[in-house]
Symmetry: C2
Subunit: 239 residues, 2 copies
């Protein structure tokens, strides 16, 4: 039994466990991918690794899958948050997709003084994170948090969490990340840059580390991937 | 005189030099951005740095700009090629945009055995590279080369150029780039992976270095930014 499809389900997984599907998932499996009874599907729920399940009832209304064997362990990414200022819709979607592939554990839209605060649809972003996790072979889906004002977030910043922040104005400053272990966050500045007040607040935060992303100005989605690469290769699970 | 617009022009630049514009550029400056005589525009041509020019004739048919002062030196990126297997249109556009921001000098679409060879429109990709260079503040536009078969490219691979290649199957292999200086290329595998023959050929190429991009599978556009970050932070102009 080979599987052509990988699905995230919000359901317990284990040997012999039967699993239901959402209407959209059933439509995808049976109308789009035309799976039949006896076909295999890979499932993960973010906690129990990856399981090969068999289609028992290939029915769009009451589909039933049954877990057969565990095909991979649960692998959760390091304790890394990605904070970013939402930008245009398509690029915000990209940032969530890329943060998932790159192994962020939590994705937090932050509203800065220069953020053009388009309404952020958390449900849609969370769905993008699920889809990216299904595609990238991971067994973990990062949580997309409610948007928060950067100023408020910095006021209540957790003592134990280091913060790497990136901004075009930092070219030439500290380019080496300190060797601090433990939980981290990466903050991508808005395309209009941080305000003077935000810059001041960041410089006063003892957990903050400024990092340069080279001599060219990067768009926010490019900067997110580049910054996560710098972090993963120095502190994360790419080491 | 401040400038709201940055334009690439295929024209000599120097003090007192007058510069014409393409029809599209004239439309953008005078119909979209509503610039008038006396307004400033930043110009670069990929060779002569960045110049502040003044609008002399704000006319869509026969516009005239005149260079005033040089506002930045010519900065060309390191001698790095990005080779990638073309994917869906939107993501191919993204790869070209991101390679420009990340400082590739040459962008080469490569056709692999598992590339779904959609027709690659070089002119459109080159226009994306120009636009990205205008946005990212660089003074250099990478050349988008004609597509070439990977097998042919490897057969005639230049002796002096090192090649970093990335592929999901390489997890756990060599993760450190050797300290080789000189010209380099980064090769992003197709989303379907390399064929066995291609993998064999790469492993026989003495200039090739395999690099892992972590435990998750990255889409080609994510992989391009991540791989260019790894290269720029170890060998390039982010060091």
């Amino acid at each position: 039994m080979k599987a052509k499809v990988r699905l995230y389900v919000d359901h317990p997984l284990g040997a012999g466990q039967t699993v239901g599907l959402s209407r959209e998932q059933a439509h995808y499996l049976f109308a789009v991918m035309r799976l039949e009874a006896g076909d295999g599907v890979l499932l993960f729920n973010g906690e129990a690794g990856e399981w090969l399940a068999e289609v028992i009832v290939a029915n769009k209304r009451n589909p039933v899958l049954e877990c057969r064997t565990q095909t991979g362990p649960q692998v959760s990414p390091p304790d890394l948050w990605l904070l970013f200022a939402p930008i245009k819709k398509a690029r915000t979607d990209f940032i969530v997709e890329k943060a998932t592939e790159m192994g962020a554990r939590r994705i937090v839209p932050v509203l800065t003084e220069f953020t053009n605060a388009e309404r952020v649809k958390i449900d849609r972003l969370q769905a993008h994170a699920v889809e990216a996790a299904e595609q990238c072979g991971g067994t973990f889906v990062p949580k997309v948090a409610e948007p928060v004002k950067l100023a408020n977030l910095l006021d209540m910043w957790p003592q134990e969490r280091s913060l790497m922040f990136c901004n075009e104005a930092l070219v030439g400053e500290d380019r080496k990340l300190a060797g601090t272990r433990g939980p981290w966050a990466v903050l991508i500045g808005p395309e209009g840059g941080f305000s003077d007040a935000e810059r001041q607040r960041l410089s006063e935060l003892s957990q903050a580390h400024a990092v340069s992303l080279g001599p060219r100005i990067l768009r926010a989605d490019t900067a997110a991937v580049a910054a996560l690469t710098v972090w993963q290769t120095t502190h994360g699970d790419w080491q």
